[in-house]
Every structure is written in structure tokens, then in C-alpha cells.
Amino acid sequence: MDLQFTEEQSMLQQTARKFFENELTFELVDEAQHSNITKHSVDLWRKIAEMGWLGVAIDEQYNGIGGSLFDLGVIYEEAGRALLPTTFYSTIYASLLIEQLGTDEQKKRYLSQIAEGKMISTVAFSEADALYNPEFFITTARKLYDRWVLNGTKAFVPNADVADNILVIARLEEGKGNDGLIAFIVRPNDDGVTLKSMNTFGNDAQSVVTFNNVELDESNVLGGIERTEKTEESFELARKQATALQCMEMVGGARKVLDMTVNYVSERKQFGVPIGSFQAVQHHLANMATSVEGAQLATYQAMWLLSEGLEAEQELAIAKAFTSETYKSATLMAHQLWAGMGFALDSGLYLYSNRAKATELSFGTYDYHLKELSNLIAPAHLIKKDELVCR
């Protein structure tokens, strides 16, 4: 047990922080959040690829670094601090799915390209009426001789507008519910694919993607056509990994909001003294710091367990629920403490507030994860009545 970063992890953290601080100036973040053309920065993407961070958790044989998932999490935390454009996250999520499900050939082809920064990717999972439960997916795939035909509509697909390919999770037409999921590698410019961009709270690029008789061959089926019992588990695992990674991003953002707010109240003077010397202000920040510390620990725990290949169901539910509440509440309290100064767009605070809300709403809200957690704790902890200790 050692709840501190190793020396290597600290070094990685420092390197990443320095890099992002240099590269992601407020102007760039601002442009990324507002641009109607692209949220993606080609120049930054190239530099990130050069640092090797797109392939941190990708095996060396596929041009990755072969590091651990936790190492990748360290990068995510720093990315969250710096508000990195979201193409990084969606591409990594896709790489996790490919890692779980892909054939050797697909890994060689796609993971290598991702690691080298030659491919932007994303995952299409949720649908208008089925956010989490694939049983209710209307996106289906039908086999037609040696071809597959894909029909349906996915929503909230991040960065589909700039992606080189989209991993689409669909139901097999003859399959029922969760038993028959299949993932396709689809290019946005394939015949029958149409994109409609969504206008979102966080000004991030998300799209509704419609598949109208999109014809695909077997090389487009992630993992080939040999479905195994592991297929659904693999979807699930990649999703959990992506959730934990997003939590890392969120704690990075939350810690940054805390740091910025501490700086602000230390400098802002009223009644002739810094407002940070008032206990009312200090106590809000002490609470914020405690939440951020707790969120960080809960997230590290979930991330570490997954990185070690261990079960983390309960820990992940705790991490996402607590971190969602922490990040969002930190931004809302920051607005209270910064007052008008933080409301002005110039301060940039709202960029974190937007991202906090966007991340809270994706990969399961507070209630979603508490419900998961309640399903895990209710039947356990059975202590026999005669063991009851009276104080």
C-alpha cells in the first residue's frame, strides 16, 4: 500500500504538465471550444503523437510505448487540467476497444496508426432512446452473403466530424439484446453514412450519425466474425477503462479549478485585504480541497485496479459518482468566489464549468453509478445477528 506516485509517475506527470502548459495556452483552448470548423488542432495532435502519448498503453509491437493504463491515466489527468481538445479522449477510447476486440491484423493496422498520430477515431455507442442499454439499440447489422449491411442512428458521437473512422456498436439483426453485439469500423465518408452535428452545452463536437444501408466487408468487423463469449465482456471492459480515464481527466480539471481559485482569492482584495483571508472563503476552499483530494484518491484507486487487470466495479462507480459531483461543484463554487470576474468569458473559468458538466453527463451520471453501487452492496455485508456488538 502506497498512495503516492512512484518517481516515474511523478516524472511523467511533470513532463505532461509542462508540455500542456506550453502548448495549450488559453487562446488555443478558447478557439477549440468555439470554432465551428474544427475542435481539433492538427499541430497539437502531431506534437502529442511525437511525445508518444497516443500510444502510452499500446503495445510496442504496434508502435506504442507499452506503458500501463495508469500511466495513460496520468496523461489524462494533466490533459484535464489543460482542457485538451476531446479528439484525444475519443481516439484513445477507440484504441481500447481495438485492443480488447481487434484481430492481430486490425491491431497492427489501426493501433499503429493511432499511436503514430495518423488516425483520429471515435466510438459510437449511445442512441437517442438507448443511452446505456444495448438491448434497446435500433442500430442493427444484417449479414448479406459475404457483406454486412448496417442500419440505424447513433447519437452523441464525439468528434465524428473529424474522425478517420468510427467504431460503431450495433446489434446483430437476428440477435436479441445483449447477446448479439458487433462492432464495425466505419469511415464517415462511406456510402450511406451521414453526420449531423449536435449543438452541445460544452461546445464540443458531437454528432448524430446515421447509417443507411452501409455496406461493409468482414475486414470492417472488429475482431472478425468469430464472436466469442468474451465479446460483450470486452465492450464492457473498454467502456470501464474509458470511464476511469475520463475520471482522471475530471480530477485534473477539478484540481486546476481549485488551484486557480486559490490564486484568485489570494490576489483579489476587498476591505483592504485578500478575500482569501476571510474564513468564510477559506472554509469553502477547504471543503473543495477535501472533495478534490477524495475524488482524486477514488479515481486513482479505480484506475489502478483496472490497470492491474483487477475487478473495479464498486470502485469505479464510486469514482465516477463522486468525481462528477466534485468537479461540477468545484466550478460552481469557483463562480461564487470569483463573482463577476469569473463570469466574464475572459477569465476562462467557464471553459472548466462547461467541461465539468459535459463529463458529468457522459459515462453515467451520479444516479446511474449510485444505482450500480447499490446493486453491489445490498446483498453483501451479511453479519450474523449474534455477532452484533453492543456498545
Binding site: M1, A286, E293, G294, A380, V389, C390
Partner: protein
């Protein structure tokens, strides 16, 4: 980063559990409950002696003082298990607060004179800090200690003293230089309870017994002074850091939570098993989440102690989080019981009275060892470096 206990830590946890299973008997627990406001009973004395024989009294102490030199994580494991099973730990705790401060800030002579008596159980200390007009503003205390020849003469009035009726010694903060700034004129003394001039008067509270302790021309030898003259504030803050870290260990309340989950799994009201009520499930899940956060904060603090880092901020965070969450757990527990939450006897279900007792006991933790407002000040000023003025 590593969230798993090491093989050695797991073995240690197992060792503590076996010891508790063998020695924390229903008879012992019944006796402890009976004697809280009196002297320790025979079973408790035997229990404490067994802990001492194991060497666990000096768990973290360096080997040179007879300790086992185990880390703070080991200490945490020990305390978590003890509390989870409601084993009596007050005497062990107080000994630890004082002894740690002596090890960290005491003189070589202090260590030679006092540590052997602490570790063998000869001394059971109790804290004489607060005074009627010096609570949160502890440094404004009025109790005086003056040197008269080879002896210190102590006069003053202490309050909110826990366990003074059981202790062998008081750990007394007294003013030794009335002309120095308030933090710089305080010293700490170890004073035997049988010294003439000490009297202990009970204060009845909503929960357990506390005391006023009066000092009238109490004379102690020079060797009773801990650290240097007027360096007492430093010693007190060191002891308080240990105390706050320890208060953050809330496993006796996390046990209550486990009992509640069990209760909800076996209790049907108005035709419905409690655990099937969606609102109950969500509340339990929320508490479960927060308990995990509280535990992680204690483990983080322990890791930092083992790495030799300043833990004043994290220990304060942990103290605030655990004590406020403890209130929530027992408060919600009583609500789960609904009308039964009022029952003040053990007949229907021992859980009712137990949780009601905790409901009265846990608010104390929100101000004992430093109010949670002061804890937040520490997090803000020492952790976040916010300006004082």
C-alpha cells in the same frame, strides 16, 4: 501508487483480527460499557496488558525505544480493526498522542525517563488542554507553571478532560512565560494524578463522562517538563496531528453502516423488505461511497506519514470528513428504523440503542481534537497556503 495491502500488511491485519477475535469477548465489551465513567474493570486491564505484551503499545516507535518500528499504514490497520470490533482503545490512543510527541519533539532525557513507562502501561495519560476561557483559542490558556527551586508548581483549571478519572497522569499545557507572545510562553508537563493538589470533578454530558481538573500548588520535579521550557506549543501541535489522524479513523461507524445494510436485508416493514426500497438503496449507496472516500483519506494520510511528509492538512481533512460523515451515517440509521429508532433498550434489536448512543456520541468528534472550523482553517492556511490576513 499501489492500492493493495502488501503481503506483510495483510498478514498483520490477520494477526490483529485473530487477536481481537480471541480477546474482545462479549464479557469484556459489557464491562467496558459499564465502567466508562469509573475505573477500568479487571477484564479491560487484562486486555490492555495483552496489547502491551504484544508490543503493540509502541507499534510505530523506533526500535531504540522498545517499539516495533512499524509504519503508519500498519498503525491504521491496527486501529481500524480495533475500532471496527469496538475494542477498548481510549487508553492506547492517549498514550500514543503523548508518546509520539515525546519521540518527535522531546529531549533525550524525556525519552529516557518517560517512554519506558508509557510503553509498559505504567503511565496512562489524559489530556489537560482546554480551560473555561481557552478552548479553540488554546494558546490563551491561563494555567501557570512556575519554577520553585527544583520543582515546577502548577496552578490552574482545566476542562473537557476525557478519562481523567481513569488516567495515571495528566499531560498538562501550562503557561511558563506570561510575558512572551501567547504561543511562545507555553510548556507541557507530565503530572502524576496522585500528586497532592489535583482534583477531578465529573461533568455529565449528552454522551460520555468528561471532567474538570483543578491544580492547586501541584508540585512536580523538573523531569516532568517535556521538551524545552516555552516550546510547548510545538509539542501540543505534534500531539494534535496524531490525534486528528486517529479521529479520522472511523471504522466503528463504518461497522454501524455494515450493520445497517444487514438490518435492511432482514427487516420487513409495511410489507416490504427495507433493502428493496429504492430510496433506501440510494441512501445506502451514497453512504457507502462517502465511507470509501473517508477511508481513502486516512490511507493517504498514513502513506504520507510513512513518507515523512507534513500531514497537518490531510489529517485535518480526514478528521472533518470522517466526523461529519459519522453523523450522517447514524442519523440516517435512526431514520431507517423509523419509529423503532426511539427505542432505548436492547430487547427488540440491540442495534436501536447502539445507534442512538452513537447519535449522541459522534457530534463530539466534530469539535473534540480541534473544532471542524479550525480544521478547515488548517486545510486552507497550511494546505492551500491562503493568507491569514
Amino acid at each position: 501508487m499501489n492500492f493493495r495491502l502488501t503481503k506483510e500488511q495483510l498478514a498483520w491485519q490477520q494477526e490483529v483480527r485473530s487477536f481481537i477475535k480471541e480477546n474482545v469477548t462479549p464479557e469484556l465489551l459489557a464491562e467496558v460499557k459499564e465502567t466508562d465513567d469509573k475505573q477500568a474493570g479487571p477484564l479491560e486491564k487484562v486486555f490492555l496488558q495483552k496489547v502491551i505484551e504484544k508490543g503493540w503499545h509502541g507499534l510505530n516507535w523506533p526500535k531504540e525505544y522498545g517499539g516495533l518500528n512499524k509504519g503508519a499504514v500498519d498503525k491504521l490497520i491496527f486501529m481500524e480493526e480495533m475500532r471496527y470490533h469496538h475494542a477498548p482503545d481510549q487508553e492506547i490512543k492517549f498514550m500514543e498522542y503523548a508518546a509520539n510527541a515525546i519521540i518527535n519533539k522531546g529531549t533525550e532525557e524525556n525519552k529516557k525517563v518517560w517512554l519506558p513507562k508509557f510503553i509498559n502501561g505504567e503511565i496512562i495519560p489524559s489530556m489537560s488542554y482546554s480551560e473555561p476561557s481557552a478552548g479553540t483559542d488554546l494558546a490563551s490558556l491561563h494555567t501557570r507553571a512556575e519554577l520553585d527551586g527544583d520543582e515546577w508548581v502548577i496552578n490552574g483549571h482545566k476542562i473537557w478532560n476525557t478519562r481523567g478519572h481513569r488516567a495515571t497522569h495528566q499531560w498538562v499545557a501550562a503557561r511558563t512565560d506570561p510575558n512572551a507572545p501567547k504561543h511562545k510562553g507555553i510548556s507541557v508537563f507530565v503530572v502524576p494524578m496522585n500528586t497532592p493538589g489535583i482534583s477531578v470533578v465529573e461533568i455529565k454530558t449528552w454522551d460520555h463522562r468528561v471532567n474538570e481538573v483543578f491544580y492547586e500548588d501541584v508540585r512536580v520535579p523538573k523531569s516532568s517538563l517535556i521538551g524545552d521550557v516555552n516550546s510547548g506549543w510545538n509539542i501540543i501541535t505534534s500531539a494534535l496531528n496524531t490525534e486528528r489522524f486517529t479521529i479520522g479513523i472511523g471504522s466503528h461507524i463504518w461497522r454501524v453502516f455494515d450493520e445497517l445494510v444487514n438490518y435492511c436485508n432482514r427487516t420487513t416493514r409495511d410489507g416490504e423488505l427495507l433493502v428493496q426500497r429504492p430510496e433506501v438503496r440510494l441512501r445506502l449507496a451514497q453512504l457507502k461511497m462517502e465511507i470509501e472516500i473517508a477511508r481513502l483519506l486516512t490511507y493517504r494520510a498514513a502513506s504520507m506519514i510513512d513518507a515523512g511528509k507534513d500531514v497537518s492538512a490531510i489529517a485535518s481533512m480526514s478528521k472533518v470528513y470522517t466526523t461529519e460523515l459519522s453523523t450522517k451515517v447514524v442519523d440516517y440509521g435512526m431514520q431507517i428504523f423509523e419509529l423503532y429508532g426511539q427505542l432505548n433498550d436492547y430487547e427488540a434489536d440491540p442495534l436501536y440503542k447502539m445507534i442512538a448512543q452513537y447519535y449522541r456520541a459522534v457530534p463530539l468528534r466534530r469539535f473534540g481534537g480541534g473544532t471542524n472550523e479550525v480544521m478547515r482553517n488548517i486545510v486552507a492556511q497550511r494546505g492551500l497556503m491562503l493568507p491569514r490576513k
